[in-house]
């Protein structure tokens, strides 16, 4: 019998309290485990579940049941925010995730600033918060994680990204104004999820990487608006996980400035070394998603054991999972953590 429920364990880790073993999670959003192997078993399928609150909650529950991940995660894409802000979305297929077809604005200078409480009634906002409500009511012991696309990525899904990246330099005032607006929207959206029972908010901001922005702009834009968003969520007493994509070298020293409760990284990053350098960080990660798709169960188990030995605080995949990832591999991954073959 476990000492802690799945929810207690995750919340304790995020609060820097002691636990029996690390939780094993897959937060949803960019990093979700709604794989073809699960959907074919249960018949609760994408793309339908992107737009239907009941189906979304059923699929989230299916993922929890069949993979062994110790959380419920919604939504299953990174397009909810951009759609609400006006961009066109292709909802994809069973095996192919939704994507932005065209960004609605060509430049930060022609972004239309709308009334946030009004746009929160648009798109799939209601679908997501309803799904969060059902999941949290029906699963009191399991943490429900609501996923957000971070401020920079959301802005770059609303404004043409090539222009946007240049404008971060050329038109700082305009860029700040747009990202600030996007952040205000994200805070209100997160609060709606929290009001409906979501336990933890997870932010993935794949455009806000050190590799793309470099350290100066990472600090000026990514750290600043991630922190504004985190502060907004913390005001509701809910912990926040932030996932940073890619190599961290250029921005590593800035990570402790991000006020999140745990930082998740790509498989390129050695989390053990990162922990040694910055002991204040609560680390999350980072089993290769390539391994989860193409590796053997033996290799998955041995790499998972390495993460356990390295003392990673929360175990999770390193990045977005392929929808054709192997369910056997994912199950082996979660089982290895549960059974904790490393003492």
């Amino acid at each position: 019998m476990d000492i802690f429920t799945q929810k207690e364990r995750l919340l304790r880790v995020l609060n820097k309290e002691k636990v029996d073993r690390p939780p094993i999670i897959c937060p949803g959003g960019m990093m979700n485990a709604a794989i073809v192997g699960v959907m074919n078993k249960t018949g609760h399928t994408l793309p339908e579940a992107h737009k239907d609150d009941k189906l979304m909650s059923l699929l989230s529950k299916d993922v929890h049941t069949h993979t062994g991940f110790e959380n419920l995660g919604i939504p299953f894409c990174m397009t909810v925010e951009a759609e609400v802000l006006g961009s066109k979305v292709d909802f994809g297929t069973l095996a192919c995730e939704p994507k932005i077809i065209t960004e609605v604005f060509s430049s930060v200078s022609n972004v239309e600033f709308k009334n946030i409480s009004k746009i929160l009634k648009k798109g799939r906002v209601d679908t997501i918060i309803q799904a969060g409500y059902y999941l949290s009511k029906q699963n009191e012991d399991v943490p429900v994680i609501g996923s957000l696309t971070g401020p920079i990525s959301t802005a770059a899904s609303m404004v043409d990204p090539m222009t946007f990246l240049k404008e971060l330099r050329k038109n700082k005032e305009g860029s700040h104004k747009v990202i600030d607006y996007v952040t205000d929207f994200l805070i209100e959206y997160a609060k709606l999820m929290i009001d409906n029972g979501v336990t933890v908010i997870s932010i993935a901001d794949p455009t806000a990487t050190g590799e793309i922005l470099g350290p100066k702009m990472f600090e000026e834009y990514a750290v600043r608006y991630l922190n504004k968003l985190i502060d907004g969520i913390h005001s509701s007493n809910v912990p926040v996980i932030v996932h940073i994509c890619g190599k961290l070298n250029a921005v590593k020293n800035l990570l402790p400035n991000i006020k999140c409760n745990a930082i998740s990284t790509d498989s390129l990053v050695n989390l053990r070394i990162l922990k040694e350098e910055y002991p204040s960080l609560t680390t999350m990660g980072n089993l290769s998603t390539y391994l989860l798709e193409f590796g053997t169960t033996e290799k998955v188990a041995s790499q998972t054991e390495k993460l356990l030995r390295d003392g990673i605080n929360i175990i999770s995949p390193a990045c977005g999972l392929s929808t054709s990832s192997s369910l056997d591999n994912i199950y082996t991954f979660t089982k290895t953590v549960r059974e904790g073959s490393v003492k």
């Binding site: 994809g92 994507k99 990246l165 240049k166 330099r169 470099g214 702009m217 390539y290 392929s322």
Partner: protein
Amino acid sequence: MSDNKEILFKKLADSVVDMDEEEAVAISKEVIVQKYDAFEAIDKGLSAGMEKAGELFEEEEYFIPELLMCSDAMYAGLDILKPHIKIDKNEVKLKVVIGVVEGDTHDIGKNLVKIMLETSGFDVIDLGRDVPPSIFVERAKEENANIIALSTLMTTTMDNMAEVIRILDKQNIREKFKIMIGGGPISQGFADKIGADGYSVNAAEAVRLARKLVTVQL
């Protein structure tokens, strides 16, 4: 006289490195007024500047926003100089068909590679983002391309790169094209696994790879 020319080309290169579009246009116009060779100005000015920008990118002095602004300055100069190039009818440009594989709409990396290849004299056919594997093959055939360049940021779409190669194999035309791949989750190991001809870690490296692949081919 020739000193003045070299100084002007150097200033043109600097305008690209300094991301100064207006300066690049002004100097390019000056090149035309002075009746210097437009091609030489592109080579020793704009391309040299872009090459320097690529080095700064590799040294992590510049990042993607800076590289994009350098390329804007480069293209602005190119618009002025291009109409003045004396056309060499015998020159055959090497052709690259490039795109982001289906399922992925992230095209920043692809655009950078395109810019760097164009700067280096390749004729680049851009198929855009979210491109189905069969389209890469069809367009490469139509264009009689030398290289097919595939990009993705997402692990979920990597297999579409292998699919392009499978289609080429099936049609028995794999040997006609060199395949180069790149993007966030891609590695040399993955390139070897799917049988691509090469992998490059960034846009500057992609140019070296493309040159190497076609030298082998010619």
